[in-house]
Symmetry: C2
Subunit: 306 residues, 2 copies
């Protein structure tokens, strides 16, 4: 299986962009062209699935040639129950059919065989080698349980050519509570970062990046700079751009001088924040495209990629 | 809504037991009476759902009058995709119909509106006040993201009479990597424990326990003793009993002198570890019952409850 780090770098080069679009289903924010078409002749559950799936098809059609990957956020799908989870599968499959990598943002983890079950669910089935039920290219996971909890995921990355992004320094204000506590002469996030970098050594690809990356928020540029130094082989998945207040200048520290080393995500700033929900699909797709192009220009200007 | 801490204490008193049975679907460990009945005349997906659901109905029927709660582990359901998630809903509904509390072990969390979406999915829907799609009585969550990430869940507990168990000190060896790092003059798990106890103050019930509890592994009794002192109002959900090596003497420290303050979980030690998969349903249910009775005797002996 081709290494995920290599696959991600190739996609970034091909699209000349390190920007990722986050897909967060929120029924009450969706344009009426989506809702009206989804409801026609369908039960409520069928309409929910159809709305989420078709909305994301519309976003993907608008942006697929401009971005290396999309990032569905599972929480927003899960809140809609089975119709939401069916729509997650639809969205993953459609994105991959349009040649996009899919980073499943689920922040899963547990211990031992339970961690293995999550790896089975999202990366590839260890017991029979088949595709995962929710078959993405990479998964976000949490580190609190410790290094041994990450190993089943890393093994799945190696076996199935998949990737992992471990939470290291998140974009919220409360990330200070535990991530910033001083452990000896450094903050906890640096301890986590070093362990993640170490675990990722066995899945470094030909481009020098590991399949095991890190989530590093755009809202803490000084911390990002420190982590960039401590984790030279990790790709950073950078949330918090746009709606959460992160600016292009803030994400600069997440990149290496060669313009690689990070993917920057924006979700609602690309797909929602619509002045008028009655926007036509044509105008919606033009707006999505315009926003993605602008974000890529901003990020490329500071990362020197593209 | 009645406070979850009160509901849990009432269930423990009624059943004279602080033992919880973990429900982890593993198709290859299930007795043949389950698999044969599930496969008859069904598609593969339908058989998967039927097997998981009927296996857990059998366990619940065998043990429902002996235990206050069951703990479905979502990872094991998720690995079976949509049929697994349908079976999760089946299992939750059946357990609640048999008057059991349902602790959904999903170890979810995220920031801001995404944490809210997980609370919507598992505790109750904030936007319209309706039941959650996966409608349990309590949910396990991870703390790494910090205090603000926990607040949407605590609000849902207050509004919907639900409970939360935050990972504090887990039962795996790797829990030492981050949970045990020294922060000032105490380990990180004590910092996390104190913040969890503080957040739980606003949902303390009439019995003196908060709806916000903590996951504290049975495999670290000294740490459990320290946390019991630091978190007087938190119920501990104690995994690691049985198959993971935790013994009754190890869980004693999780209880207050009055015999309350913890629920102890065993999963595969109750429902699997079958000498012969061709066991009949009658004998399987007798075995489950015998194991649950023995575990309750062991735990009651050290907790002085019951």
């Amino acid at each position: 299986m081709e290494n995920f780090g290599d696959r991600l770098l190739a996609a970034i080069d091909a699209k000349r962009s390190s920007c990722v679009v986050g897909l967060d289903p929120r029924m009450d924010w969706m344009p009426t062209f989506v809702m009206d078409a989804a409801r026609a002749g369908r039960s409520n559950d069928e309409a929910t699935r159809a709305a989420i799936s078709s909305f994301h098809c519309s976003v993907i059609d608008a942006a697929h040639d401009l971005i290396p990957a999309v990032k569905p956020q599972v929480a927003f799908y899960e809140q809609y129950g089975i119709p939401g989870m069916l729509a997650l599968i639809d969205t993953i499959q459609y994105a991959r059919s349009r040649n996009l990598l899919v980073i499943i943002d689920a922040k899963r983890n547990d211990i031992g065989t339970t961690a293995q079950a999550y790896a089975n669910a999202f990366l590839g089935n260890a017991s029979d080698g088949s595709a995962a039920a929710f078959d993405g290219d990479a998964l976000t996971v949490t580190p609190y349980l410790g290094g041994d909890s990450l190993l089943p995921f890393v093994e799945a990355c190696e076996r199935f050519g998949k990737g992992l992004f471990v939470l290291v320094k998140t974009s919220n204000a409360g990330s200070r509570d535990f991530q910033d506590v001083m452990v000896g002469d450094g903050p906890l996030y640096s301890v986590v970062g070093k362990l993640v970098d170490s675990i990722g050594q066995k899945v470094i690809g030909s481009r020098g990046y590991s399949s095991v990356g890190a989530v590093v928020g755009a809202t803490f540029p000084a911390e990002a700079k420190e982590l960039r130094r401590l984790m030279p082989h990790s790709v950073f998945l950078v949330p918090g751009y746009g709606a959460q207040g992160g600016k292009a200048s803030d994400v600069a520290a997440c990149f290496h001088p060669d313009g690689h080393g990070a993917v920057v995500n924006s979700s609602r700033g690309i797909t929602y924040e619509l002045a008028d929900l009655s926007i036509s699909e044509t105008k919606f797709q033009a707006l999505v495209r315009e926003r993605v192009v602008r974000m890529a220009e901003e990020v490329n200007a500071v990362s020197r990629a593209g």
